[in-house]
Each structure stands twice: as C-alpha cells, then as structure tokens.
C-alpha cells in the first residue's frame, strides 16, 4: 500500500494567468475593434504612424494570439496539470519567471509594433531580441512542465497532457525555424531564407501557429475542463488518443495551403492541399468527442452558461475545421484567397473556439479557486448571447464581403474586359459589410466587458485559496501486468516518457 502524502496545489499562479488572460483579452479585442472601425473610417488612423492600420493589425493579432490565448493556455495548463498529475508545480520560482517573463514580452511587443520595429512574417513580426526572450521564457515553461510530469504521483498521463507536450515541442521548433535571421541592428534583421523559400517557412510556421498554439493546447483544455464542467467522462478515450496522433502528424504538412496558385512549386502546393483535406478527420474526431461527452447532460446545457460557452466553442471548432479543408481545395481557394472570407474563417475559430472556451473556463475556474459562486448566472447568460450574436454579425458579413469581392474581381464584360477595372469599386461595394462586422465586434466586446464586471463581483465575494491543501497516494511504479499492452509499462515510468 502506498502512503498518503499531503501537499498543496498552487492556485496563485493560476489566478495570475487568469487575470492576465482577461486583461490582454480586453486590450487585444479593443485593438481589433479599432482596426475594424479604421476600415470604414480611415481618419481613425489619425495620420499618426503608431496608430495606422498597418501597425494596429499586427498589434491586434499578436495580442489576441499570444497575449490573450497564450495566457489562457497557461492558466488552463497550470490548473489542470497539477490536478491531473496529483502534484504541485515543480517550482514556484519557475512559474513566477514564466508569468512575469511572458507579460514583459507582451509589453515589449505592445511598444515595438506601434513604433514599426517589426519584421514581415505574419504572427511572428517581433524583432530578434524579443524572439530570444520568447524562446527563453518558453524553455522555462517547458522545464517547469516536464519537471512536474517527472515528479507526478499519478502514473497515467491523461490525453490533455499529451496535447500540452505536443504543443511545447512543436512551438519550439516552429519559433526557432521561422525566426532564423541575421541582425543588422538592435531592432532590424533579415531572414536567412529569401523569396519562395522564406514564404514556405513562414506559412509552415503560420499555419502551425494556428495548429499548435490555438488548437492543440485548447483541445487539451477541452479534454480537461469539459468533462469537469459537464460532470461526465470523456465519450471515447480511445478516440482522443487516435485523433491526437493523427492531428499532430497531419497538421505539420498543411502550411502550403496558404500559398495556392502562388509561385511556390506545384508539388508543394499539392502536398499541402492533400494533407489539409485529410485534416478534417482528426479535427472532427476531437469535435465529436467533445460534443458526445455531453451525452446525457444536454438538459444541463440549457441551464448552465458555462456548458453553453463550451458547446458553442466546440461547434465553432467543428465549423472552422470543416471550412479549413474546404478553403484548401485549389478551386475554392482561387475564390477565397486575398478576400475577407479568410478573415471570417479565422474569427470563427478565434472568437468562437478560443474565445468562448476561455470564457467557459474562466467562469468555471475562478469561483473554484476563490471558494465562492459565480456572482450572476444571468449576466453570464447575457454575455453568452451577445457574444454569440457578435460572432454571427462578425462572420456572416465577412463571408458576403469575401464572395462579393471575389466575384467582382473576376467579372468580365461580354467583350472580354474587366467589368470592375477600378479596384476601388470592389472596396466601396463591401463597406456596408465592414460596418456590420464592426457592429459584430462591438457586440462581442460588450460581452467581454459584462464578463469582466461579473468576475470582479465574483472575486470580491470570495477569498483566493492560494495554496489548496490536498492529499494523494505516493506513486508506485509497476511493470505491466499480464494481459496489458506493452506500452503501459512505459507510460507508468515517467522518466522514459521524456
């Protein structure tokens, strides 16, 4: 018999990351909202360099992806990892360095991008000193995570942790690969590869930033927080393992679908298309596993705003991952590329999948670590509905705008001339759609403000349990018993898993 050991979970770090998620979420979405309004009122660029669209847009994407979702990942990982492994994080100091290091990087990004100190790789605009800082903080995160896995009390590594590990390994490779550059000065560098090679590297990175920063860690979070919130076991654990391996194997090849019909060699384009189309299987494996986890709990979805957020998040994930393979087919891409269809597609994923899953987790997790109840279920419901409306008002007009513009670009007169030879005509035509999109963004943002109010009120009624006392049996390693798969032995021995 194993002895029962007493220890505590570190909730303080989870709270820090949760607050950072909310703060940067508000900032990132506000900047996005400004960008949306700049497209209909160009004067909002104020004729001032730091506030022009060309700098606001990368500020928005970096803030939303790396500040909002990034902190969301860490919040969820630090909460779930400790509980799944029945141990405290390996080092409180590393946790703190990770937290403050990441926030410092965000501040550095928020200062340098508006000053124009940036490169031209989308979602990797930051200049080389910040790239190095990101690598260092990321290593601290990995060190802390893997060391925690090593000292775990629970022998089995739950599927969520596999997703976290895949995220860490792949993002490391992507970040280094896409930022190989030669510095000229403190804030200027040139990438090692040029032209078409640089393009392939960038979109190998760009697509896998979506895959391994916005998708795999959030699937891990889904596999932990959805069963918790629904109080139901995962529908199929076997499916979760199968779609995990399929997903990480296929995703890494999909990048060239961002370069269809460009001067990238055809073989690379075709390879990208084939793997992108195949992606629907593992993606929908995850979506279905999520939705089917709610079997027998659908009555609660009607009452519980947390489950509502999660259901819409998973549905948005399903829609975005159906649309993605479709957009990777060359004939569809010929229409969609360069248009607002892409922007609509991305925001189904970010506002729906990442945003709503984050909100669901925040509503579930914060009352727990503050030992209290959510201040207002009603306000959470209001947030859910205006957020959902916001997504619709955001995405649908952009789909219409994308199709309209693509059709206008390609329209010839019977005599064989371009019907809309002046590009500007195809822009002014879709301005009403941009207005509706800005309205959608405003609704979504208003929902977030309601959440901030609700959470402030919730936190005030409770007290943070900074160190949550708990106990668990000490780990006993054993060899695989007769009849077990051979790899169970490896899974039970954490050293070898690393």
């Amino acid at each position: 018999m194993a002895t029962i050991e007493k220890f505590s979970y570190d909730n303080g770090i989870v709270k820090n990351f949760a607050y950072a998620t909310i703060l940067w979420g508000v900032v990132g979405m506000l900047v996005g909202l400004i960008a949306a309004f700049q497209l209909i009122i160009p004067e909002l660029s104020f004729g001032w360099a730091p506030t022009t669209f060309g700098r606001i847009r990368p500020l928005h994407t970096n803030a939303a992806i790396f500040a909002f979702v990034g902190n969301g990942i860490y919040m969820g990982v630090y909460y779930s990892l400790q509980r799944l492994l029945k141990t405290r994080m390996y080092s409180d100091l590393l946790s703190k360095i990770h937290f403050w290091g990441w926030q410092a990087i965000i501040v550095a990004a928020a200062l340098t991008i508006p000053l124009g100190l940036m490169g031209a790789h989308e979602y990797a605009e930051l200049e080389w000193p910040i790239d190095i800082a990101i690598a260092l903080v990321w290593i601290v995160f990995g060190w802390n995570m893997f060391a925690t896995i090593l000292k775990r009390r629970e022998t089995h590594l739950y599927v969520a942790i596999w997703f976290y590990i895949a995220t860490w390994i792949t993002v490391t490779v992507l970040h280094v690969g896409n930022n190989l550059e030669l510095p000229v000065s403190l804030f200027k560098s040139y990438p090692v590869f040029a032209g078409v090679q640089d393009a392939l590297i960038q979109w190998w990175y760009g697509h896998n930033a979506v895959a391994f920063f916005l998708t795999t860690p959030y699937l891990g979070l889904m596999y932990y927080f959805l069963p918790k919130a629904a109080n139901r076991p995962v529908y199929s654990y076997k499916l979760s393992i199968i779609h995990f391996w399929a997903l990480i194997f296929i995703y890494i090849w999909a990048g060239p679908h961002h370069l269809l019909y460009t001067s990238l060699p055809d073989w690379a384009q075709s390879l990208g298309t084939v793997f992108s189309v195949m992606l629907i299987a593992p993606s929908w494996g995850g979506m279905l596993n999520g939705l089917l986890t709610l079997r027998g709990a659908w009555d609660r979805v009607r009452q519980d705003p947390i489950l509502k957020f999660m259901v819409v998040a998973i549905t948005a994930y399903g829609m975005a991952t159906f649309e993605g393979p479709m957009l990777s087919i060359k004939s569809v891409n010929a229409i969609s590329h360069y248009t607002d269809w892409t922007i609509g597609h991305v925001h189904i994923g970010t506002l729906g999948w990442n945003g709503f899953l984050t909100f669901g987790i925040l509503y579930w997790l914060l009352p727990r670590i503050f030992a209290t109840k959510l201040y207002s279920i009603k306000l959470a419901n209001i947030h859910f509905w205006i957020g959902t409306l916001g997504i619709l008002f955001y995405a649908v007009p952009l789909y219409v705008a994308g199709w309209t513009q693509a059709l206008m670009w390609k329209q010839f007169t019977p005599d064989g001339f371009l019907q809309y030879g002046n590009f500007l005509e195809t822009v002014t035509q879709i301005l009403p759609m941009y207005t509706l999109r800005a309205l959608g963004g405003t609704l979504y943002f208003a929902g977030v403000i309601v959440m901030v109010y609700n959470i402030i009120k919730t936190v005030k009624t409770g007290n943070l349990i900074k160190n949550e006392e708990t106990s668990a049996p000490a780990r006993v390693d054993h060899a695989p018993a007769a009849g077990e798969h051979w790899h169970r032995g490896i899974e039970k021995r954490p050293m070898q898993m690393l």
Binding site: P58, G116, P191, G195, W204, P265, T342, T428
Partner: protein, 201 residues
C-alpha cells in the same frame, strides 16, 4: 520536414532569372519602410496565374523574381490592390501625393494617410550594415559595395527628387525624405522582367 527541406536544398525548385537584380540601397531602404508600415496587411505582391489577375495587374509572378526578397512580402489579403507590378505604372509624383493623401488620387479610398513619410528624414546609418548582412546571406552585392552604398543611395534619391520637382512638387530637403526611398522601391517592383521596349526594335 520532408516538405520543407527539398525547397531549401534543391536548387531547381527556385529557377533563377538573369534579369532579376538585387535592390539598390535606396530601394532597400524603401522596402524596409514598406515593412515598418505594415503595408502587407492590405497589399499583396503575388499575382496568381488567372486571366482576371493578369488583366488587372500584369504578368503573373514568377518564383525567380523573389530571390533577393528578405523577407518575402507576398501578403495574404487584398484590402487594397496587388502591388507586384505597380512599378512604373504611375509617375513618381502620383505616389508622393497618394501617400500624403490617398483620396487626392483615388477618391473614396480607405487607405490611411502617411504624412510622416513626407517630413521624416531617411536614416542612412545602417545602410552599410544592411548591405553587408544581405551579402552574408547570399545577395550578390560586390565586395566593398557597403562603402559606396550611401553615395549610391543619395545619387538615386537625387534622380527621384528631380522627377518630383519636374512635376511641381517643391519641398526643402526633398531628396533626404523617407518618401523618396519608398517611391524608388515601389517603382522598382515587378519591373525586372519587363521586356525592354528598345530590344524589340
């Protein structure tokens, strides 16, 4: 990996075009301004091989045209038109006025104004270092070119400034402004493979 490495190792994947030459120091400075201002958020530089695109923009883009593009600037969104063949399409003064106030050239345009490009002096401090760095990475600038780069830049800037003055644009210290570099870059874009009109005669 299997996908990325052949692109980096197998030379035939990126055919070279003899007439494609490295950017001049002034064009390079203009290109870095293009990056600094995030122009690629709204403008692509990659014409796809469709009739609707070649009709609108010109010859479709070839991979050999980008071998000196560090970083590549193909972009992913056309809120404004593609710029790969914008070179020599408009006079220099059109670009000057357009950057100052896009609506003066395209009424109804939603492009922001860029007044600081007109007033800011171009910073030439890092030009030699940039030339050296790019040569290290493989751009065939001749040995020692970094020492002549600033003079080369100023000579080309004087030509652009003269063309602006010819069109009636008067401004003190015009040849030292950032706008000159940006115009030089934009006018170079996509022109390397244009057939020489005299060669046909």
């Amino acid at each position: 990996m299997v996908e990325v490495f052949p692109m980096l190792m197998v030379e035939s994947n990126v055919p070279k075009i003899e007439s494609v030459k490295p950017y001049t120091p002034l064009e390079l400075s203009g290109r870095d301004i293009y990056i600094r201002e995030g122009c690629l958020a709204c403008h692509s530089q990659m014409i796809r091989p469709f009739r609707s695109e070649t009709e609108r923009y010109g010859e479709y883009s070839k991979s050999g045209e980008f071998i000196y593009d560090r970083p590549f600037l193909w972009g992913s969104k056309r809120t404004g038109p593609d710029l790969h063949r914008v070179g020599e399409k408009y006079p220099d003064s059109w670009h000057y006025n357009h950057m100052l106030d896009p609506e003066s050239m395209s009424p109804g345009s939603i492009m922001p104004t860029y007044p600081w490009l007109i007033t800011n002096d171009l910073n030439n401090r890092y030009v030699p270092a940039k030339i050296k760095a790019l040569r290290t990475l493989g751009t065939p600038y001749p040995e020692g070119f970094e020492d002549e780069a600033v003079a080369d830049l100023q000579a080309q800037a004087a030509v652009v400034a003269a063309s602006l003055r010819k069109d009636g644009i008067e401004q003190e210290g015009l040849e030292n402004k950032e706008i000159i570099a940006l115009i030089a870059y934009l006018q170079r874009l996509g022109t390397d493979i244009k057939p020489d009109p005299q060669a046909e005669n």
